[in-house]
Amino acid sequence: MTDTPRAVDSSVDDQPATGDQRQRWLIEKARTGDFTAFEMLVQELEPRVYRLAWRMLRQSHDAEDVTQQTFLSVIEHLEQYRGEATVAAWVLRIAANHALKLLRRRRGMMVTSWESGRGGDNEIASSLPHPEVIAPWRETPADLAERTEIRRLIDEALIELDEKYRLVFLLRDVEGLSVRETAELLGLSEANVKVRLLRARLQLRERLTRVLGDESRRAIPEHSHPPPPAEGNKV
């Protein structure tokens, strides 16, 4: 146990300005007992931890519990961060673990839906739903994200998604964990994660494009294509 306090000096020149480098620097400081550095790290990461927990659990109270447990675990395990993943990915993994424990408790000891089908890509892509509504969106994601009714829409679309697809999408696509990290956390094979991710992406795309797509530029899906020109015929 280290008990030498040292406050963060925000004027020091070697403080990295942003991102993972800065968060690694804060972890280093925190390990020496610097609570100010730890608080800064919490401030940077708590919104993402809370958002992940809220989206996984759908209840504020549970999301609060998970947020608190996550950062208490970070205190306990500060020395165990080895730097292989980004600090954010490490903390989000801890958060996802706590959230999964809660989900399992909610379901009792039943096998959870996200853990079934670990035998590989047996949910394979043969029966993938074909895109139906195909149209470019009228606005950019950055503009859309500002609007309250769109925030409601994306939350609703996420709730409609089967939990086993939702968890994979949240961990991999939204929070940026690798396929391997997602597979390990959920107890799935990497092949399973990829198939579920594809289904999640296709379902969410379909749902959102029905609302956000530009009807006047809608394209008709064409499932039969002539074979591509032979190598020699290309311009």
Partner: protein, 83 residues
């Protein structure tokens, strides 16, 4: 590559983590298939939209309880630390 094959290879292409050969086949298909181009764009936009999505605000009363719990745990781990 036809549309079905493209659909199955979509993850790798969207994630940009695939082998060059698949990328070439994929790009060739996309160049001649506007619907598939739009689907790929839609999926990328879907992911961007969720990433940019609202960060749910934490209730103020929780913030206080949360900070207190952190300070207590910190003091237990680093007894001589200033918190």
């Amino acid at each position: 590559m036809n549309c079905d094959e493209l659909l199955r290879a979509l993850n790798e292409y969207v994630d940009d983590e695939t082998v060059l050969a698949l990328c070439r086949e994929f790009a060739e298909h996309l160049a001649g298939c506007q619907p598939c181009q739009i689907v790929v764009d839609n999926i990328r936009q879907t992911i961007q939209l969720y990433r940019a999505g609202e960060l749910h605000p934490m209730p103020p009363e929780f913030q206080e309880r949360f900070r207190r719990a952190l300070r207590e745990r910190w003091k237990a781990k680093f007894p001589n630390s200033e918190v």
